[in-house]
Symmetry: C2
Subunit: 198 residues, 2 copies
């Protein structure tokens, strides 16, 4: 059931001027008119390629996690493998590539888990989630010059421990994992896998 008061209208875009190129993003300044009061405002938009991340399950149903130093928070985090979609690349191809490059794992059953908007207030992109099953270490990881990545295999209890320890707080990693594990179940004794075995 839904009850709505009114549907807000889109804002008219009056103009746009480029901002600095931050490499990770291109900054754009939009001039927009608020339809509620006619006021003109400038708002910043970060133009970004789409992102992907992957819940990779081994044959023993452990999830393959990556540990790396993150520059935003200045801490070593635990996350699911992922990265940026290259120009002309499909999200699933990017997910396969990132999993292989970061971990050396490849799998044999890929399932799209949907996508989210990382922050529609100022980012224009999506993050696409994937599940891969029967993931095994088959190749050497191929880390970029700007990467230093350790691996962590976790069952549902190990995942819960990593969250409880405050190392797994990345909203997009949790978003992907929450499609496969019931991370926040009340009275279930912790995280548990929810996708049935095939």
């Amino acid at each position: 059931m839904q009850t709505a008061d009114r549907t807000p209208r889109p804002w008219q875009k009056l103009g746009s001027r480029p901002g600095p190129d931050l490499k990770l993003f291109t900054v754009r300044h939009d001039r927009l008119r608020n339809p509620r009061n006619g006021l003109d405002l400038e708002r910043v938009v970060l133009e970004s390629v789409d992102w992907v991340n992957v819940v990779a399950l081994t044959p023993a149903r452990e999830v393959v996690l990556v540990r790396q130093y993150r520059f935003g928070t200045g801490r070593v985090t635990t996350e699911v493998p992922g990265g940026m979609v290259d120009p002309g690349e499909s999200p699933e191809a990017a997910a396969r590539r990132e999993l292989q490059e970061e971990t050396g794992y490849t799998g044999d059953t890929w399932t799209p888990l949907g996508s989210v908007e990382p922050n529609p207030a100022f980012l224009d992109n999506r993050c696409h989630h994937f599940l891969v099953e029967n993931a095994r270490p088959t190749v050497r990881p191929d880390l970029g010059a700007g990467e230093d990545i350790g691996l962590l295999l976790c069952d549902a209890a190990g995942l819960q421990a990593e969250i409880a320890a405050g190392r797994l707080r990345h909203a997009l990693a949790l978003s992907a994992l929450s499609r496969v594990f019931d991370l926040w179940g009340v009275g279930t004794g912790g995280a548990r896998e929810r996708i049935p075995n095939r």
Copy 2:
């Protein structure tokens, strides 16, 4: 259970230079040394205040959602109420204020639902989630000049419909909601509330 190969080390920060002030963020360029290969790299960090958002449940256990035009994606979205933590303000005070300003609702039982890192790769902040129960419209909404917000009340089925329609894709709104509703349950016939009534 957990199995790790090695723990990556923090990167040494060699220096920092300020970038442009984007209002929503202050840009910082850090120069860092990769401990794996000794290479120096420059990485961008967006310094931001913390954010909050709120799952507000009415006495009838409907969730109070906001609809607004979002500048990043250029579309009208459905989200939970939320915003930025003001200087000196606690996250819970910010959550109470944002709920009241955006919707006119106030509630009587506040529960912290934990926090996430919106993106530790380039953002230094957290987003704090709260639950408030017995939320009722008690005051007039107090929208800022740059806001135009409509309200939507949803039960679990209505929430599911909003997600299925592609209007509720904000990762941080879904992160908050996933603490209260089992959004992705398999074979459960849709979203259902998971927090027990008190």
